[in-house]
């Protein structure tokens, strides 16, 4: 029988994860292995349960996108004990995983923060009021926020005046963002830490007719975000390459299975998408 790889995903309601699944599936097909995907619906315990179950099923490798980077470790250790290599994707897990694929969210958060800082220096005279639409229930997005804070610290008079919680749900993010924008008529920049937050924020900015006064930076492209970039009020969006991450993870797993050497840390490059380079993403998000 062929080899079998299992992938434990966070959820399937965010485009980001869906694209990662697609990348992984494509790579698995190319490599001729079976890929089983499990959707843990944001529940850290469910991720553990799934890994334990896959261990029992004796799959050949496990890929996991961790919700709780600490809480996943025991399950990874179990897998290692059972001789099953684990590749972690996106969120950085410092455990018994054989390979880490993905993005250093903290660092990229800092990058987009620095990008924003530069924008503030050149366009806003070094001063800005910044709002944040976050998702407090998402570990990764909290990390991105921390990174961002570190990045903008380089401009002392840019300050975060308010943070609202979009709870990683588009319509709630929109409502929160609308309230944020009307609460702070002096906002110049709003940062969205993830895809639902960014979609909600873009919709809210249009709905509030604030596209003239507010600039948006954030994470994860979508058709809406591209429209915003075209319209000019979305300044920069961190575009990871989830498909690439998925593909890289499967390929790394294949190498592990074939006893080929693999890097411990595979970094998948991110792009900060602006008006200048948005063109090539149009085809993906139509």
């Amino acid at each position: 029988a062929g080899k079998k790889i299992a992938m434990v995903q966070i959820n399937q309601e965010a485009l980001f994860f869906t694209q990662m699944d697609q990348g992984a599936q494509a790579a698995a097909k190319a490599a001729g292995v079976e890929l089983a995907i499990f959707n843990s619906n944001n529940d850290p315990s469910a991720q553990n349960n799934a890994i334990e179950t896959y261990i029992q099923q004796k799959v050949d490798a496990i890929l996991v996108v961790a919700i709780d980077v600490n809480g996943i470790k025991p399950a990874i250790t179990e897998a290692k004990k059972a001789g099953i290599p684990v590749v972690t994707i996106d969120a950085i897990v410092d455990g018994d995983n054989s390979v880490q694929v993905g993005v250093d969210n903290k660092k990229v958060g800092e990058d987009i923060g620095k990008y924003t800082a530069a924008y503030i220096k050149t366009n806003l005279g070094g001063k800005a009021n910044i709002g944040v639409v976050g998702a407090l229930n998402s570990f990764i997005q909290n990390v991105r926020l921390d990174g961002f804070k570190a990045g903008i610290a380089t401009v002392p008079s840019a300050k975060i005046v308010a943070t609202v919680d979009g709870q990683n749900v588009q319509d709630q993010a929109q409502t929160a963002a609308e309230n944020l924008i009307s609460a702070h008529p002096d906002l110049q920049i709003v940062y969205a830490t993830g895809e639902p937050a960014l979609i909600g924020l873009v919709a809210a900015t249009s709905a509030q007719d604030a596209t003239g006064r507010v600039k948006i930076v954030g994470w994860d492209l979508s058709a809406q975000a591209i429209k915003g970039i075209d319209a000019g009020f979305v300044t920069a969006v961190v575009q990871q390459d989830p498909e690439g991450e998925g593909r890289a993870a499967v390929n790394a797993a294949m190498k592990l299975l074939n006893k080929q050497p693999v890097e411990k840390n595979i970094s998948v490059p991110v792009t900060i998408v602006t008006k200048a380079n948005v063109g090539k993403y149009r085809a993906v998000f139509k």
Binding site: L136, A162, D171, A183, A207
Partner: protein
Amino acid sequence: MELAMHDKSKAPRLPLRHLLGRNAGVASIAAFFIVCALAFALTTHTFLTAGNLLNVLRQSAPLLIVATTMTLVITTGGIDLSIGSTLALVGALSAIALRAGVPGIVVLVGGLSLGALIGAINGYFIAFAGMPAFIVTLGTLSVVRGIALLITQGFSVPIENDGWFVELGRGRLLGMPTPAVIAILTLLAGWVTLRHTRFGRYVTGIGTNAEGVRRAGVDVRSVTLKVYVLSGAAAGLAGLITTARLGSGSSNQGVGFELAVIAAVVLGSTDLFGGRGTILGTLLGALTIAVLGNGLILINVSPFYTQIIQGAIMLLAIWLNTRIFSPQRRKKG
């Protein structure tokens, strides 16, 4: 069916309560709403601006619409947990249909019908198969969101910004946001239905003694079925409005929406055990929730405290309602 104990007579007997009689619950939430609104008006400049108030109305439209029908559902002694999922499915499908060039009016009718169909399935299981509403709608919650996920494959589907469909979410009618106008009409219809039609009378009766209503020759099962159909259709309408407002449909919409809706209805003093419902109370309950969400952001509360404060204020409101305004209510637990 729950706690009776604690004899009513032990609570302080305010003359107020006597005057208010069975409207005590509504009076309580009205007072609470006014206090909240005043507090925000005094602490922020933005709160009372026309722009902000219209925002609140627009944002709360889906809540108001679904809370109206949820009031009927809860008054029959039932519950509908599947509304958030229905909202997502209808929202996502309507975005897909619009992109495929289906005319807006067809999408509108189709969305309402799909919602009604999901409601009919709930209603069939509850009224005809006699299954508990909580568990039936918990099941459809899962199934319907699964279908939304399957259909969108997790993608969020953007729609064009022009066309009248988008007006449903973003437009204005007679100076009011269109969603707010729709919500007010829904509330009005709900009020007439519950207070002034036979159907509404039977809804109340079923909540207190379904067998008694059946013995009065009423077709209890079809009344119950209809209540869930209305609930599903309202969720569909809310989905259409949400998609129009957001400019995109996705399976991620309306997560946890059912809890907000139920909280609004119960805040409004409708009895979760059935038999007593009030649309006016629901209006006030929903507005209280919306104003809280808005005001807490306006006064710049750290988001880490928002959940805590919202929960605590909800507890306080119900506590006031139960303790001071209408100790009667405690009887049903």
